[in-house]
Symmetry: none
């Protein structure tokens, strides 16, 4: 009679179900890959009704956004070393967050969805670009202050370069994603932006 879809009241939402669905999705995606997992299977695995899932998430992408790792702001907290050390620390923590099997599958899946799902696009850009950039910017600015980084260096580009190299290896899986790689990466970028 009213036409507009009633928003379900988030207060009555069952926390048990919420968790069970996300867990089930993560488990299935790790096992079978993003594209091969269906809402139907998630519901069965979670012991939930399909309607329950559709009530709270408009799409599989929306559901997976909740599982997609999100770098916390405090990830760059320490900062107790040289710029290179700090960069390695931050990149290492990003890696630990995203290089797990389900995270890789979800990121790859969302990359494809992002082309026609603005929500997925926004989340990916936020978590793979913006947040890492702001974390790295912090470190690099500190480097500028301490005179380790050239004042005129293109800091945002450095941040983007560092993370992009990670993400491509993450998505294509063609080469190892280990501390050694991070080290080489930081070394080269640092040469490009180091003072003097």
């Amino acid at each position: 009679l009213c036409g507009t879809k009633q928003e379900p009241s988030a207060e009555r939402r069952s926390a048990r179900v919420h968790g069970a669905v996300l867990d089930a999705a993560a488990r299935l995606i790790r096992r079978h890959g993003y594209n091969r997992v269906t809402i139907e299977a998630i519901a069965a695995e979670a012991g939930a009704g399909k309607q329950t899932i559709y009530r709270w998430w408009p799409s599989k992408a929306a559901l997976c956004i909740e599982i997609c790792p999100s770098p916390p702001a405090k990830l760059a907290k320490a900062g107790g070393g040289t710029v290179a050390q700090d960069l390695r620390a931050v990149l290492g923590r990003l890696l630990r967050l995203f290089a797990t099997a389900p995270a890789r599958a979800i990121v790859a899946g969302l990359v494809a969805e992002a082309r026609h799902d603005p929500g997925a696009a926004k989340v990916l850009v936020d978590r793979l670009v913006r947040r890492p950039r702001s974390l790295l910017r912090e470190v690099l600015r500190r480097g500028v202050k301490r005179g380790q980084v050239r004042r005129t260096a293109d800091i945002d580009l450095a941040a983007e370069t560092l993370t992009s190299a990670l993400w491509v290896r993450l998505l294509l899986g063609h080469a190892s994603l280990d501390a050694r790689f991070v080290e080489r990466l930081v070394a080269q970028v640092m040469r490009g932006i180091a003072a003097k």
Copy 2:
């Protein structure tokens, strides 16, 4: 009633159909995105029977592999300028190849498939990593000879860094993919590997 599946003879294959199917797929993917295009729709658009498509391609991914741009070896031919100029030229040509609407959609789609389709993975790694790397390596080695690039520079990493930054922007579409960006990128990387 019979049972045994036969490999079709490539000689009898209709070139007309081959082309029509690839064209139709590219057209539809540009319009609707990788995930939303179905084999059924491709067949209809191409005026072909579904079976004809399944006869020659085992999956949508396999079909799209044939549409996915492939950087030609001669892409690095010129090489008439400084290292930075040549790098900009090669990256610009790579961009021109991959930054079109259908190419972006296909690459994004294949990234998701690659996680459980070795064929897709192989093609992506080949076209986004190996070939560009070998093209850039050529340019950089020339740079080493001419004394523009440090003899101890990590050339492969430089190549990977340059292209990775492109591919992430290509996939996420969060920032422009233009000559200005390529210029900044090359400038920074060159600082990291330049002689002296």
Copy 3:
């Protein structure tokens, strides 16, 4: 992803759909014949999904079994006349039941299916042989009691003979299936089994 097939619960079955599918099938079979009607067309005509049909009927034959006429037990009730009159009455009612266009098409279709579908075979034998035989047996036994039918007459054979003549005309459609034919048939068979 799941694997185990579940039996659907008959309680949740939609009566509306059940009826609509049977009606649609009968309509289409009358128009186009058993062999030319497809499950797909039945679904479309009924405004139903194919899966809904496959959920409740394993095959077109199974569906048509539900449309196939079934002589009710009370068909022989009256029995107020001579044996010949009663036989004519029963055969006439059988004819009215089976000589309609859709019934003929369905019976013919099921005859072919029956050779490799035990369910179809069982239903045909039941409705074309067993039930008519029991109906006619009733009439003929009454005749024996009343002294109109010879005590040693082969009553089951008489019943089979009477109906078989109908069914062949029904299936082949080479000659009329009217009251006049029933009359001749009953007259001749009665001569064979009449007392004295």
Copy 4:
């Protein structure tokens, strides 16, 4: 340019292929039933090209018509005994012709096709009704002449009754089709038409 389909010249027709196709069809139909046999399978089984089959037969029904048994006129030749003996002989020979596995499958299949294939209908009526009737008529007329059959007996009906009982058992397979059955059948019908 001419529009009308060229009739292939029967003279150049390969007898080897003709036979191989009919054999293959009979073999497959015996094994799998009329409905489950496809032109494709017949071609494969016969080692023939599909086009070759379509060149000479417009449909599976047309092909099967050539395999369908055809009671020869000489089937009633002997006639050396009483009417009952001769009837039993003719019916027995008809049975031997039609009660084989492939014949039953083909007749059942053609019964269904006959509803929308005039060719099939014609053949069935001819071989199951007309020819047997004329054969039996011969026997019965002889009976009239010899005074064994009532002059006013409905001879055509008797013939139809006798054969119809056979065909129904043939098609439904619900009861045995042996000499004992033929005997009972003839006995009862003879009582209905015997002189005095």
